[in-house]
Amino acid sequence: MTSTFEQLIAANEKIEPRDEMPDEYRKTMIRQIAQHAHSEVIGQQPEGNWITRAPSLRRKAILIAKVQDEAGHGLYLYSAAETLGISRDELNELLHSGKQKYSSIFNYPTLSWADIGAIGWLVDGAAITNQVMLTRTSYGPYSRAMIRICKEESFHQRQGYEIMMTLCDGTEEQKAMAQDALDRWWWPSIMMFGPPDADSTHTEQSMAWGIKLETNDQLRQKFIDMTVPQTEFLGLEIPDPDLKWNDERGHYDFGDIDWDEFWTVVKGNGPCNRERIAHKRKAWDDGAWVREAALAHAAKQHARQKEVA
Protein backbone atom coordinates (compact mmCIF):
# COMPACT_ATOMS: atom_id res chain seq x y z
CA MET A 1 0.00 0.00 0.00
CA THR A 2 1.32 3.41 -0.88
CA SER A 3 1.25 6.28 1.59
CA THR A 4 -0.92 9.39 1.27
CA PHE A 5 2.28 11.28 0.53
CA GLU A 6 3.11 9.08 -2.44
CA GLN A 7 -0.46 9.27 -3.71
CA LEU A 8 -0.39 13.06 -3.57
CA ILE A 9 2.96 13.22 -5.39
CA ALA A 10 1.73 10.76 -8.03
CA ALA A 11 -1.44 12.81 -8.55
CA ASN A 12 0.65 15.96 -8.96
CA GLU A 13 -1.01 17.49 -5.91
CA LYS A 14 0.78 19.82 -3.50
CA ILE A 15 2.08 18.70 -0.11
CA GLU A 16 0.91 21.08 2.63
CA PRO A 17 2.55 21.84 6.00
CA ARG A 18 0.61 19.50 8.26
CA ASP A 19 0.61 16.54 5.86
CA GLU A 20 2.67 13.49 6.64
CA MET A 21 5.90 13.44 4.66
CA PRO A 22 9.07 11.35 4.74
CA ASP A 23 11.77 12.82 7.01
CA GLU A 24 14.10 13.04 4.05
CA TYR A 25 11.58 15.09 2.08
CA ARG A 26 11.18 17.48 5.03
CA LYS A 27 14.96 17.79 5.44
CA THR A 28 15.56 18.32 1.72
CA MET A 29 12.82 20.94 1.59
CA ILE A 30 14.16 22.79 4.64
CA ARG A 31 17.66 22.74 3.22
CA GLN A 32 16.60 23.99 -0.18
CA ILE A 33 14.17 26.69 0.99
CA ALA A 34 16.62 27.87 3.67
CA GLN A 35 19.55 28.22 1.30
CA HIS A 36 17.27 29.97 -1.13
CA ALA A 37 16.19 32.40 1.62
CA HIS A 38 19.80 32.93 2.76
CA SER A 39 20.76 33.73 -0.84
CA GLU A 40 18.12 36.42 -1.12
CA VAL A 41 19.31 37.96 2.13
CA ILE A 42 23.05 37.79 1.36
CA GLY A 43 22.29 38.88 -2.21
CA GLN A 44 21.46 42.32 -0.86
CA GLN A 45 25.12 42.97 -0.10
CA PRO A 46 26.80 43.01 -3.54
CA GLU A 47 24.07 45.31 -4.87
CA GLY A 48 23.72 47.40 -1.71
CA ASN A 49 27.39 48.20 -2.29
CA TRP A 50 26.35 50.54 -5.15
CA ILE A 51 23.32 52.32 -3.67
CA THR A 52 25.33 55.34 -2.54
CA ARG A 53 27.18 55.48 -5.87
CA ALA A 54 24.32 54.93 -8.31
CA PRO A 55 24.84 57.30 -11.28
CA SER A 56 21.46 59.06 -11.05
CA LEU A 57 18.51 59.49 -8.72
CA ARG A 58 16.44 57.27 -11.03
CA ARG A 59 18.98 54.44 -10.83
CA LYS A 60 19.29 54.89 -7.09
CA ALA A 61 15.55 54.66 -6.46
CA ILE A 62 15.36 51.54 -8.64
CA LEU A 63 18.31 49.88 -6.89
CA ILE A 64 16.87 50.58 -3.44
CA ALA A 65 13.56 49.04 -4.55
CA LYS A 66 15.38 46.01 -5.90
CA VAL A 67 17.43 45.45 -2.76
CA GLN A 68 14.25 45.83 -0.69
CA ASP A 69 12.64 43.16 -2.89
CA GLU A 70 15.52 40.78 -2.12
CA ALA A 71 14.88 41.28 1.60
CA GLY A 72 11.19 40.62 0.99
CA HIS A 73 11.95 37.46 -0.98
CA GLY A 74 14.12 36.23 1.87
CA LEU A 75 11.23 36.77 4.27
CA TYR A 76 8.64 34.95 2.09
CA LEU A 77 11.01 32.01 1.94
CA TYR A 78 11.91 31.96 5.64
CA SER A 79 8.20 31.94 6.36
CA ALA A 80 7.77 28.95 4.00
CA ALA A 81 10.70 27.10 5.65
CA GLU A 82 9.19 27.67 9.09
CA THR A 83 6.06 25.75 8.12
CA LEU A 84 8.29 22.65 8.13
CA GLY A 85 9.13 22.97 11.82
CA ILE A 86 12.34 24.97 11.90
CA SER A 87 12.38 28.36 13.68
CA ARG A 88 13.60 31.69 12.33
CA ASP A 89 16.26 31.88 15.03
CA GLU A 90 17.58 28.45 14.07
CA LEU A 91 17.71 29.51 10.42
CA ASN A 92 19.64 32.67 11.31
CA GLU A 93 22.05 30.67 13.40
CA LEU A 94 22.60 28.12 10.61
CA LEU A 95 23.50 30.91 8.20
CA HIS A 96 25.72 32.77 10.66
CA SER A 97 27.62 29.64 11.65
CA GLY A 98 28.11 28.61 8.02
CA LYS A 99 26.27 25.30 8.51
CA GLN A 100 23.86 26.27 5.76
CA LYS A 101 25.02 27.77 2.50
CA TYR A 102 23.75 30.39 0.12
CA SER A 103 24.35 30.68 -3.60
CA SER A 104 28.05 31.03 -4.39
CA ILE A 105 27.32 33.77 -6.91
CA PHE A 106 27.10 36.27 -4.04
CA ASN A 107 30.68 35.59 -3.04
CA TYR A 108 31.90 37.56 -6.06
CA PRO A 109 32.56 41.30 -5.67
CA THR A 110 30.74 44.12 -7.51
CA LEU A 111 33.66 46.16 -8.84
CA SER A 112 31.93 48.62 -11.16
CA TRP A 113 28.46 50.06 -11.82
CA ALA A 114 28.20 47.75 -14.83
CA ASP A 115 28.17 44.82 -12.39
CA ILE A 116 24.75 45.99 -11.19
CA GLY A 117 23.54 45.68 -14.78
CA ALA A 118 25.18 42.28 -15.23
CA ILE A 119 23.72 40.94 -11.97
CA GLY A 120 20.17 41.97 -12.89
CA TRP A 121 20.49 40.62 -16.41
CA LEU A 122 22.48 37.41 -15.82
CA VAL A 123 22.18 36.46 -12.14
CA ASP A 124 18.50 37.32 -11.87
CA GLY A 125 17.99 35.86 -15.35
CA ALA A 126 19.50 32.54 -14.26
CA ALA A 127 17.49 32.68 -11.04
CA ILE A 128 14.24 33.22 -12.95
CA THR A 129 14.95 30.20 -15.15
CA ASN A 130 15.20 28.08 -12.02
CA GLN A 131 12.35 29.77 -10.19
CA VAL A 132 9.82 29.46 -12.98
CA MET A 133 10.33 25.71 -12.67
CA LEU A 134 9.99 25.95 -8.87
CA THR A 135 6.55 27.58 -9.07
CA ARG A 136 5.40 24.01 -9.86
CA THR A 137 7.39 22.38 -7.03
CA SER A 138 5.54 19.87 -4.85
CA TYR A 139 5.64 21.73 -1.51
CA GLY A 140 2.73 24.20 -1.39
CA PRO A 141 4.24 27.04 0.65
CA TYR A 142 7.45 26.98 -1.42
CA SER A 143 5.50 26.99 -4.67
CA ARG A 144 3.37 29.94 -3.51
CA ALA A 145 6.46 31.92 -2.45
CA MET A 146 7.98 31.23 -5.87
CA ILE A 147 4.92 32.52 -7.72
CA ARG A 148 5.10 35.76 -5.77
CA ILE A 149 8.86 36.05 -6.30
CA CYS A 150 8.69 35.36 -10.06
CA LYS A 151 6.22 38.21 -10.52
CA GLU A 152 8.70 40.60 -8.92
CA GLU A 153 11.89 39.17 -10.38
CA SER A 154 11.01 40.13 -13.94
CA PHE A 155 11.51 43.81 -13.02
CA HIS A 156 14.96 42.91 -11.70
CA GLN A 157 16.10 41.36 -14.94
CA ARG A 158 14.70 44.10 -17.15
CA GLN A 159 16.26 46.91 -15.10
CA GLY A 160 19.62 45.09 -15.30
CA TYR A 161 19.38 44.69 -19.05
CA GLU A 162 18.44 48.36 -19.38
CA ILE A 163 21.62 49.33 -17.50
CA MET A 164 23.62 47.18 -19.94
CA MET A 165 21.86 48.74 -22.96
CA THR A 166 22.58 52.24 -21.69
CA LEU A 167 26.27 51.45 -21.18
CA CYS A 168 26.53 49.80 -24.60
CA ASP A 169 25.00 52.89 -26.23
CA GLY A 170 27.49 55.10 -24.41
CA THR A 171 31.17 55.89 -24.85
CA GLU A 172 33.83 53.32 -25.71
CA GLU A 173 34.81 53.27 -22.05
CA GLN A 174 31.25 52.62 -20.92
CA LYS A 175 30.87 49.79 -23.39
CA ALA A 176 34.18 48.35 -22.18
CA MET A 177 32.81 48.43 -18.62
CA ALA A 178 29.79 46.43 -19.76
CA GLN A 179 32.03 43.88 -21.52
CA ASP A 180 34.26 43.60 -18.44
CA ALA A 181 31.21 42.91 -16.23
CA LEU A 182 29.98 40.25 -18.67
CA ASP A 183 33.46 38.68 -18.70
CA ARG A 184 33.48 38.35 -14.92
CA TRP A 185 29.83 37.32 -14.37
CA TRP A 186 29.25 34.93 -17.26
CA TRP A 187 30.86 31.79 -15.89
CA PRO A 188 29.71 32.19 -12.27
CA SER A 189 26.16 32.78 -13.62
CA ILE A 190 26.03 29.53 -15.57
CA MET A 191 27.51 27.73 -12.55
CA MET A 192 24.45 28.85 -10.56
CA PHE A 193 22.51 25.86 -11.91
CA GLY A 194 24.81 23.55 -9.96
CA PRO A 195 27.07 20.67 -10.97
CA PRO A 196 26.42 18.68 -14.15
CA ASP A 197 23.66 16.07 -13.92
CA ALA A 198 26.20 13.24 -13.89
CA ASP A 199 27.70 14.60 -10.62
CA SER A 200 24.52 15.82 -8.99
CA THR A 201 23.77 13.31 -6.27
CA HIS A 202 20.35 14.50 -5.16
CA THR A 203 18.78 15.45 -8.49
CA GLU A 204 17.18 12.06 -9.03
CA GLN A 205 15.43 11.95 -5.65
CA SER A 206 14.40 15.61 -5.93
CA MET A 207 12.79 14.89 -9.28
CA ALA A 208 11.00 11.78 -7.98
CA TRP A 209 9.48 13.92 -5.22
CA GLY A 210 8.49 16.67 -7.62
CA ILE A 211 10.77 19.18 -5.88
CA LYS A 212 12.69 19.78 -9.11
CA LEU A 213 11.08 19.31 -12.50
CA GLU A 214 14.09 19.91 -14.72
CA THR A 215 17.73 18.96 -14.25
CA ASN A 216 20.66 21.35 -13.71
CA ASP A 217 21.94 20.80 -17.25
CA GLN A 218 18.53 21.31 -18.83
CA LEU A 219 18.05 24.60 -17.00
CA ARG A 220 21.59 25.75 -17.83
CA GLN A 221 21.04 25.05 -21.53
CA LYS A 222 17.73 26.89 -21.49
CA PHE A 223 19.39 29.94 -19.91
CA ILE A 224 22.30 29.97 -22.37
CA ASP A 225 19.96 29.64 -25.36
CA MET A 226 17.94 32.63 -24.14
CA THR A 227 20.94 34.77 -23.25
CA VAL A 228 23.04 34.52 -26.42
CA PRO A 229 20.68 36.59 -28.62
CA GLN A 230 20.33 39.15 -25.81
CA THR A 231 24.12 39.47 -25.76
CA GLU A 232 24.26 39.88 -29.54
CA PHE A 233 21.70 42.67 -29.33
CA LEU A 234 23.98 44.50 -26.90
CA GLY A 235 26.94 44.02 -29.22
CA LEU A 236 28.89 42.28 -26.47
CA GLU A 237 30.81 39.04 -26.60
CA ILE A 238 30.32 36.06 -24.29
CA PRO A 239 33.76 35.02 -22.96
CA ASP A 240 33.59 31.48 -24.32
CA PRO A 241 35.43 30.66 -27.59
CA ASP A 242 33.60 27.33 -27.83
CA LEU A 243 30.14 28.88 -27.77
CA LYS A 244 28.37 28.20 -31.07
CA TRP A 245 24.97 27.20 -32.42
CA ASN A 246 24.50 23.48 -32.99
CA ASP A 247 21.89 22.96 -35.68
CA GLU A 248 21.57 19.26 -34.97
CA ARG A 249 20.83 19.71 -31.26
CA GLY A 250 18.89 22.93 -31.75
CA HIS A 251 20.91 24.43 -28.89
CA TYR A 252 24.10 26.38 -28.32
CA ASP A 253 27.19 24.31 -27.53
CA PHE A 254 29.42 25.83 -24.88
CA GLY A 255 32.88 25.32 -23.40
CA ASP A 256 33.93 23.42 -20.29
CA ILE A 257 32.97 24.96 -16.98
CA ASP A 258 35.75 25.32 -14.38
CA TRP A 259 34.18 23.18 -11.65
CA ASP A 260 37.30 23.53 -9.49
CA GLU A 261 36.54 27.22 -9.14
CA PHE A 262 32.93 26.37 -8.32
CA TRP A 263 33.87 23.96 -5.51
CA THR A 264 36.48 26.38 -4.13
CA VAL A 265 33.80 29.06 -3.73
CA VAL A 266 31.17 26.65 -2.37
CA LYS A 267 33.65 25.43 0.23
CA GLY A 268 34.12 28.96 1.53
CA ASN A 269 37.17 30.22 -0.30
CA GLY A 270 35.65 32.57 -2.87
CA PRO A 271 36.61 36.23 -3.05
CA CYS A 272 33.98 37.47 -0.55
CA ASN A 273 32.72 34.51 1.55
CA ARG A 274 34.11 35.73 4.86
CA GLU A 275 33.15 39.35 4.28
CA ARG A 276 29.53 38.47 3.47
CA ILE A 277 28.98 36.43 6.64
CA ALA A 278 30.88 38.88 8.85
CA HIS A 279 28.69 41.71 7.56
CA LYS A 280 25.50 39.71 8.13
CA ARG A 281 26.50 38.76 11.67
CA LYS A 282 27.41 42.34 12.50
CA ALA A 283 24.02 43.59 11.29
CA TRP A 284 22.32 40.92 13.42
CA ASP A 285 24.40 41.72 16.52
CA ASP A 286 24.09 45.49 16.10
CA GLY A 287 20.33 45.11 15.85
CA ALA A 288 20.04 43.13 19.10
CA TRP A 289 19.12 46.19 21.17
CA VAL A 290 16.30 47.08 18.77
CA ARG A 291 14.81 43.61 19.08
CA GLU A 292 15.13 43.70 22.86
CA ALA A 293 13.56 47.16 23.05
CA ALA A 294 10.64 46.08 20.82
CA LEU A 295 9.94 43.09 23.04
CA ALA A 296 10.20 45.19 26.22
CA HIS A 297 7.78 47.71 24.72
CA ALA A 298 5.34 44.95 23.76
CA ALA A 299 5.48 43.47 27.28
CA LYS A 300 4.85 46.88 28.83
CA GLN A 301 1.88 47.62 26.58
CA HIS A 302 0.47 44.19 27.34
CA ALA A 303 0.80 44.75 31.11
CA ARG A 304 -0.84 48.19 30.83
CA GLN A 305 -3.80 46.81 28.91
CA LYS A 306 -4.29 44.17 31.59
CA GLU A 307 -4.31 46.87 34.29
CA VAL A 308 -7.02 48.81 32.45
CA ALA A 309 -9.07 45.64 32.07
Partner: protein, 110 residues
Protein backbone atom coordinates in the same frame (compact mmCIF):
# COMPACT_ATOMS: atom_id res chain seq x y z
CA UNK B 1 17.55 34.76 -6.63
CA UNK B 2 18.02 31.07 -6.60
CA UNK B 3 20.44 28.37 -7.47
CA UNK B 4 21.39 24.93 -6.55
CA UNK B 5 23.97 24.63 -3.78
CA UNK B 6 25.27 21.07 -3.89
CA UNK B 7 26.03 19.05 -0.80
CA UNK B 8 29.72 19.23 0.05
CA UNK B 9 31.43 16.03 1.02
CA UNK B 10 31.44 15.86 4.82
CA UNK B 11 28.86 18.64 5.17
CA UNK B 12 27.33 18.47 8.63
CA UNK B 13 23.73 17.34 8.67
CA UNK B 14 21.54 20.05 10.07
CA UNK B 15 19.27 19.05 12.91
CA UNK B 16 16.38 21.20 13.98
CA UNK B 17 14.09 21.15 16.93
CA UNK B 18 11.47 23.73 16.03
CA UNK B 19 10.74 26.03 18.93
CA UNK B 20 9.69 29.65 18.81
CA UNK B 21 11.93 32.52 17.83
CA UNK B 22 12.11 35.57 20.09
CA UNK B 23 9.41 37.44 18.15
CA UNK B 24 5.98 35.82 17.93
CA UNK B 25 4.64 34.77 14.52
CA UNK B 26 1.70 36.56 12.88
CA UNK B 27 -0.36 35.40 9.91
CA UNK B 28 -1.00 38.08 7.29
CA UNK B 29 -4.22 38.52 5.28
CA UNK B 30 -4.55 41.05 2.46
CA UNK B 31 -7.67 42.39 0.71
CA UNK B 32 -6.64 42.94 -2.92
CA UNK B 33 -9.41 45.44 -3.66
CA UNK B 34 -12.76 46.54 -2.31
CA UNK B 35 -15.39 43.84 -2.67
CA UNK B 36 -12.98 40.94 -2.21
CA UNK B 37 -12.20 38.81 0.86
CA UNK B 38 -9.01 39.16 2.81
CA UNK B 39 -6.78 36.29 1.67
CA UNK B 40 -3.92 34.67 3.57
CA UNK B 41 -0.57 35.64 2.01
CA UNK B 42 2.09 34.52 4.49
CA UNK B 43 3.47 35.38 7.89
CA UNK B 44 5.82 37.77 9.68
CA UNK B 45 7.63 37.82 13.01
CA UNK B 46 7.06 40.92 15.13
CA UNK B 47 7.09 41.95 18.79
CA UNK B 48 3.52 43.29 18.78
CA UNK B 49 0.50 43.92 16.55
CA UNK B 50 1.62 47.42 15.49
CA UNK B 51 5.03 46.17 14.41
CA UNK B 52 3.42 43.18 12.68
CA UNK B 53 1.17 45.52 10.67
CA UNK B 54 4.14 47.64 9.64
CA UNK B 55 6.16 44.60 8.64
CA UNK B 56 3.23 42.98 6.81
CA UNK B 57 2.80 46.12 4.73
CA UNK B 58 6.51 46.25 3.84
CA UNK B 59 6.80 42.55 3.05
CA UNK B 60 3.51 41.80 1.30
CA UNK B 61 2.22 45.03 -0.29
CA UNK B 62 5.13 46.71 -2.08
CA UNK B 63 3.24 46.83 -5.41
CA UNK B 64 -0.35 47.83 -4.63
CA UNK B 65 -1.28 44.25 -3.77
CA UNK B 66 -3.86 45.41 -1.31
CA UNK B 67 -6.13 48.04 0.18
CA UNK B 68 -6.40 46.46 3.63
CA UNK B 69 -4.25 44.23 5.84
CA UNK B 70 -5.09 41.98 8.80
CA UNK B 71 -2.55 40.37 11.10
CA UNK B 72 -3.51 37.57 13.51
CA UNK B 73 -1.25 35.85 16.06
CA UNK B 74 -0.49 32.45 14.51
CA UNK B 75 -1.15 30.82 17.88
CA UNK B 76 -4.78 32.01 17.63
CA UNK B 77 -5.50 30.11 14.41
CA UNK B 78 -7.49 26.91 14.96
CA UNK B 79 -7.26 24.44 12.11
CA UNK B 80 -8.87 21.17 11.11
CA UNK B 81 -6.77 18.06 11.51
CA UNK B 82 -5.48 16.75 8.16
CA UNK B 83 -5.87 13.18 9.51
CA UNK B 84 -9.58 13.81 9.98
CA UNK B 85 -9.98 15.00 6.42
CA UNK B 86 -12.28 12.20 5.32
CA UNK B 87 -14.55 12.50 8.33
CA UNK B 88 -14.77 16.27 7.98
CA UNK B 89 -15.06 16.56 4.26
CA UNK B 90 -16.57 13.20 3.36
CA UNK B 91 -17.91 12.25 -0.03
CA UNK B 92 -19.85 14.53 -2.28
CA UNK B 93 -23.64 14.59 -2.13
CA UNK B 94 -24.64 15.02 -5.75
CA UNK B 95 -28.20 16.03 -4.87
CA UNK B 96 -26.80 19.26 -3.38
CA UNK B 97 -25.81 20.38 -6.87
CA UNK B 98 -28.20 21.85 -9.45
CA UNK B 99 -27.03 19.50 -12.22
CA UNK B 100 -28.45 16.53 -10.25
CA UNK B 101 -31.96 17.45 -11.42
CA UNK B 102 -33.25 16.86 -14.95
CA UNK B 103 -35.45 19.73 -16.04
CA UNK B 104 -36.87 19.59 -19.59
CA UNK B 105 -35.59 22.23 -22.01
CA UNK B 106 -39.15 23.48 -22.61
CA UNK B 107 -39.22 24.85 -19.10
CA UNK B 108 -36.59 27.38 -20.09
CA UNK B 109 -33.69 28.67 -18.06
CA UNK B 110 -33.77 27.71 -14.41
Amino acid sequence: MSYDVPIIEGEAEVTFGGGAGAFPLWEVFVRASRGLNHVHVGSVHAADADAAMQSARDVYTRRNEGVSVWVVPSSQIHASDPHQKDAWFDGDHPYRHPTFYDIPDEVGHM
